[in-house]
Amino acid sequence: MGYDGGSPKLMQPGDPSSILRVNPPTIPDHLLLRPIGRGAYGEVWLARNVMGALRAVKVIWRRQFESDRPYDREFAGIQRYEPVSRSSGGLVHVLHVGRNDSDGYFFYVMELADDSSAECGVQSAELSKAATSSILHSELRTPQSYVPRTLRSDLQRRGRLPTAECLRVALDVVGGLAQLHRLGLVHRDVKPGNIIYVNDHAKLADLGLVSGGGEGRTFVGTEGYIPPEGPGSPLADLYALGIVLYEASTGFPPERFPDVPPEWFASTSGDDALELHEVILKACESQRESRYQSTEEIQADLALLQSGQSVRHVRALERRYARLRWSGIVGTAVLVCALVVAFFANYRARLAAESRAKEASLREQAQHSQARAEAAERQERQQLYTALLEQGRATVRSGELGQRVNALDAIHRASAISNSAGLRGVALAALALPDLRFERELPYGSEFTLRQVDPSFERIALCRGRGPVEIRSLSDQRLLATLPASTNLPAYSGGWSADGRFLSVKRDYPPSGARSDKEVWDVRAGRQVLLLRDRPFTALSFHPTLPRFLAGEKNGATVWDLEQRTAVNRVALNGTPHWLRFAPDGEAFAASYAGDKTWAVTIHQTSTGELICSNAFDAYPASFNWHPSGRWIAVTDHNGNVHRMDARTGEKRLLGRHKAQATRVEFTPDGAYLISGGWDRELICWDAQTLQRSFTAFLNGHVGLFRFDGKAYALEAETGVQLHAFERASGHREFAEDLGPLLRFAAFSADSRWLAAAGTERMGVWDLQSSAPGAFATNAWATRVCFAANAELFADRTGGCFRWRVLPATDRTSPPELSPLELAVPAGFISLCLASNSVVLTGARGSAVIGSDELGAGQRDWKPTAEGLNGVSPDGQWLALFPSFTPYLFVHRLPTLERVAILTNTFPVRAFQFSPAGDELAVSCRNSVEFWSTATWQRTRTLTNFNGQLYSPDGRTMWLTQEFRAAGLHDARTFEELMPLPVGTYPLAVSPGGQHLAVSVNLRRLQVWDLKAVREQLGQLGLDWRD
C-alpha cells in the first residue's frame, strides 16, 4: 500500500468516509488530522507532531491479516527498512516506528509528501516551529486540502513529464534502489504511485513489500511492472523502474511499451526523449540477461545523459569498436591472402600479367579496407575517450564518495585508448583527492550494542546488550576471548588503548546511560583491572603511551594507574564531565561539561588540572578529538556544527555543518584529514589544513575510527561493521603555515633539504627532512629568496636585503633556527643575486660584485648598470637585469660588468631565467615568453599565451604558466604539454635534482610535490610519458 495506493483508495479532502468510519489510533507525540490513504492492511494519516511539523503516519492493523505471520512479516520489513531509509535521498525517510500490541497495530512515521493540491506547488513538509498567525492560517488550510504528490498524481494531471524531469526522477529513485540493493534488500513494488515527492525530490515509498533479496517467493508487486521472470529481485526492481520511466516520459500505460509518441519522430524536440528511451528499452528487455544488471550500470548511463552525452552514441561506439577490431583483423587477413596469391601467381608466365593485375587490385582493396577500418576505429576511439574523460572530470568535481575511486576508474579505461596531457591533468586532480573505498562488511549489525574495533584492526570487541564482551578476530571472526560482565547492565560503548592492550567497557544505568559502570580490561592478560561504579556519562580516556586511564566523576576526573590499580591524582573541574580525551602527549586533557547556560569545552594540565584554555558552545558538544600535533581539538555539537578549537588559546573556528546533530569526529593519524559523523547518517571528510570539505558520504553510520596507520577506516553501520580503505592525496605535502597572500617566491637549497618561501606577510623556512613547523622572518616579507652553495639564505626586495644561516632544529618537533648574518644594505638598493662565491648587488649606483666574505659594511666597486631586478646565469658568466615596466633586458659580462647586449622584448619584462645549460635566456613578458640565444643574443623563438616559465634542472622540460592560474609541464624544445597542474596551482621552484616542485595554490597555500611519486602514480594508470 502506498501513498495513493494505486489499488488502495486515495482519500480526497472532505471524503466523509475519512471522518465517519475511521477511529484514529493513538500515536505518541502526534495528532492525527485525517486519513489520506487506505489499503488492504491499514491506512495512512496526515499527522502533526508536537513540534508542529506535518508528517505521514502509516498504521497497519493486525485485524486485517488472517494470521500473525503476514502481520509480523510486514513489521519485520519496516524494521529492516527504517535504518536504511535515511541513508539515501531516494528513499522516503522513516522517522519513527512504534507498536501497540494491546490494540493490535503497529505504525511508522514518515516524512510527508509535497502537497499536490497546492496551486503554487508550495511544499508542506516542514512548517516553522515558531508559528506566526499567517503560518497558522496556512497550517489550518493545508491539512484539509492536502493531497500527497506522487508521480502518479503528476502524470494524471500533466499526462507526461519533460525528459529533464524524468531524468531527475530516475536519478533520485535509482539512488534509493542502489542503497537498498547494496544492503541486500529489494523494493518489489516500484510504480508511479509509490514514488512521492518531498521538497520536489522524488523518493521511493511504500515500504511494506521491502524484503531481503531471495527471501519469500510470494508473488507480490503490481501488474504491468513485473518482469517475465517474476518479481522479488534487484533486476525486477530495475525493470519496474524502466516501466515507470516509460510511463512518465511517454504518458502511455505499461502495456503499450515500447511505443513512443509519434511526434518524437517528427522533429528534433523528441531527440532527448529518444535518448532516455534507449535507457528505458534496455531496462525493460524481456530477457533479463539483456537488461541492466545493477543500479551502477543504469546510473552510469543516466549520468551520461545528464552530462549531455548520447547513450546511443557511446553504445554504438563500443559495439562498432568491437566489430571494427574484428574487421581490422579480417582486413589484415585479406591482405595476407592477397600477398600469398601474388607469390604463387609469379610462377605462371602466361598469366603473369593478369595475375599481377589481380594481385595489385586485391592488395589495393585490402589496404583501402584496412585504412578505412583503422580511420573509423580511430575516430570512434577518440569519441569514447572523450566521453570517459568527461565522466572523470565530472566525478572529480562531485565532492561525493567515489570522487577519486570512480574517477580513476574512468581515467584508467580512457588511458587504454589515449594517453594525453588532458587526461593526466584529470588524473592529477583525482589523485589529489581523498576517498573511501569499500572493502568488506562484517556481519555485526545494530543488534550489537557494543562494536569496537582495536587500533590495528585485528580484533573487535562485541556485546549484545547485557552479558559478556567477546573479543573476536577481524579476519575470520574467530572467538579470541570472553570478558564476563561485572554487572547486569547493558554495554553500550567502549574503547581500546592505543597499544591495544586495554579495553574499556561502559555499562549504562537505565534509562539514558547518564550514569554507568566502567570496566577496564587487560585483554592480553584476560583480566579486569578496574571497575568504577556509577560514573557519569562517557567521560573516559586512555593515556596515549602510559598504562593510565582518565575517568570522569562528579565535578572532576581521576587518573588511574592500570598496573598498580590505584588512583594517581584527581583534578577538580567546574562541572561533571560528559566527554574526556587525553592530548596526544598525555600532558593535557580536554573535557566538556555543562556551564551556566552554555556548554564548556576546557583544556587542562593533566598533572595539576590547571586550566589552559576554554571556550563556550551554545549546543551540546557531543564529542571531540585531538589533532595528533596536540595543537587543536575538533568538536562536534548537536546543532550539527563541526568546530576546530585551538588547544592553547581556546579560539574556535567553524568548519561546517551536518544536516542533523553532529556526533563524532576522528582525525587521521597524520592529522591531514578528519571525518565527522552525524545523525543524518552522513560522513563528512574535511581537509584539516585548508578546513574545507573534501567529500560527503552516505554510508548509514556515524561512528567510525581510523586504523593506526591511517590507511583504513571502520564504520559502525546499521547492517554491520564496514571496513574501507582510506585513499588520500599522496605525492605532495601541504604546509599549514600562512605566509600571507601573493605567495610567489620560493627556493630549494642545493642539497634539497631546505625550502624557503615568502608571501606578503612573512618568509618561512622548512626542513624537508622533518614534518616540524617552519621558522619565520616577519621582516622578510615579499622577498625573492635564494640559497647559496653553503646553504646560507638570502632574501631581497627593493630597499632591503637579508641573510641568515639556517640551522637544523634540536628535536624533531621544533622549527629550524634562522641565525641572521651581516649584510650591509647599500643606499638605493634594488636587488641581489648569487654567483658562485659572490653576491651581486644592484642599486641606484649600478651593480657591484662582492665576495661572500665582504658582505659587511665596506667599500663597493660600483659599475654603471641599469637599475632593476638582476639575475646570474648558472655558469656565472652573465648578469642580466631589467628595469621595471620596460621591455629592455640588459646583459653584462661577469665579473667585469661590461655590457654586452640589450635585449628588446615585445612587451615589458616581468621576469627572466637562464636555462640550466646557460645556452638560452627565457624572458617572461605580459603575453609571451621570449627566448634568446646566449651565444648570439638573438631572439630564437617566442611562445605566446604564456607569461611565466620555470626550467626543470635538466633543461628538457619547463613549467609554463598563464597568469597565476593555469600551469603545466611542457617539453622545452617542442612546448608540447606533458602534464597540466590543477587550476590555481602555480609553480615556484624546482629542487636541484628535479624531484620536488614547490607550488602555491591560489597564491596562498604552499605545497611541495614529489614529482617522482606523481609520475609513478601516472605510470600505474598508463599515463606516463616518454622523456
Binding site: 517467493r217 508473488f219 517475465p228 521472470e229 517474476g230 518479481p231 522479488g232 502495456e255 511499451f257 515500447p258 511505443d259 513512443v260 509519434p262 518524437w264 519522430f265 523528441g270 531527440d271 529518444l274 528511451h277 534507449e278 528499452l281 534496455k282 525493460c284 528487455e285 524481456s286 530477457q287 533479463r288 539483456s290 548520447s310 546511443r312 552514441h313 554504438a316
Partner: protein, 214 residues
C-alpha cells in the same frame, strides 16, 4: 503463486493442451498464463457492455471462478465449437448474471422478503438476456484486438525491445525507414531487418492463435 521460469514456449503450450492443463487447478503456471491472456478481453467486454471499473473487475473474477469450477470436467472438442465461441458464451452469461444479481440485491435492500436471502445463481443463469446480441458484436471486436495484443506479447518475449520499437514505428505507425533510422540511431538495414523479422514472427503468432482458438 510461484513465479514462473523464463521459457516462453514452456509457458505457452498450444491452446488445446493449455485448456487440458487447466483441468488441474494446481497447475498455477497454466492458470496464470490463461488469466494473463484473457482477463483484459473479458474486462473490456464487460466495460463496453456498460459496467463500471469495479463491476467489470468483479465480472472477470466471477468468470474465472466459474471456469475454475467447470474446468476439472472440461473436454475441449473443436468439432462442437471453437474455444473462442465457448469463452464468449461464458463471458456473456457472467455479465448477464451479474446484472441481474445486482438488480435483485438492490431490490432486496429496498424491499426485503422472506426467502430472498438465498440468491441462487444457477436460477438466475437460466433467465434469457436481452442484451446478448449487442454483446456479441463487442465480443468480436475485443477478441480480435486481444488476439493481436496476445500475439504481440508473445513476440515481445522473443525479440529485443529496440527491434520491437523499430517494427512498431515503421510497420504499424508507418513512419519511413529513413526517419526511423535517423531518429533511433540505427542503420537502414537494421530497420529493414527488424521489420522483416518481427513482422514474420508476429504473423506466425497470430496465425497460430487463430488456429488454436477459432
Amino acid at each position: 503463486m510461484t513465479s514462473a521460469e523464463p521459457n516462453t514456449d514452456a509457458l505457452l503450450p498450444t491452446r488445446q493442451s493449455l485448456l487440458t492443463r487447466l483441468r488441474d487447478l494446481q497447475d498455477q503456471d497454466g492458470w496464470r498464463e490463461f488469466f494473463d491472456t484473457y482477463w483484459r478481453l473479458i474486462y473490456n467486454v464487460a466495460r463496453r457492455s456498460g459496467l463500471g471499473d469495479l463491476e467489470a473487475q468483479e465480472v472477470v473474477q466471477s468468470t474465472f471462478i466459474y471456469l475454475s469450477r467447470r474446468m476439472p470436467k472440461f473436454r475441449y472438442e473443436p468439432a462442437r465449437g471453437s474455444f473462442k465461441s465457448w469463452l464468449r458464451v461464458v463471458t456473456r452469461s457472467r455479465i448477464s448474471v451479474y446484472r441481474r444479481t445486482e438488480k435483485a440485491r438492490e431490490k432486496f435492500i429496498r424491499e426485503p422478503f422472506p426467502g430472498a436471502e438465498d440468491l441462487d445463481e444457477s436460477a438466475v443463469e437460466q433467465l434469457p438476456d436481452p442484451a446478448a446480441d449487442a454483446l456479441d458484436e463487442v465480443w468480436q471486436r475485443e477478441w480480435e484486438q486481444n488476439l493481436l495484443d496476445a500475439a504481440m506479447r508473445r513476440v515481445r518475449a522473443k525479440v529485443s525491445s529496440k527491434q520491437l520499437l523499430i517494427f512498431r514505428a515503421s510497420a504499424i505507425d508507418h513512419l519511413s525507414a529513413s526517419q526511423v533510422s535517423k531518429k533511433l540511431g540505427v542503420s537502414l538495414s537494421q530497420v529493414y531487418l527488424a521489420r522483416h523479422r518481427v513482422g514474420h514472427l508476429f504473423k506466425a503468432e497470430v496465425q497460430r492463435l487463430r488456429r488454436e482458438t477459432e
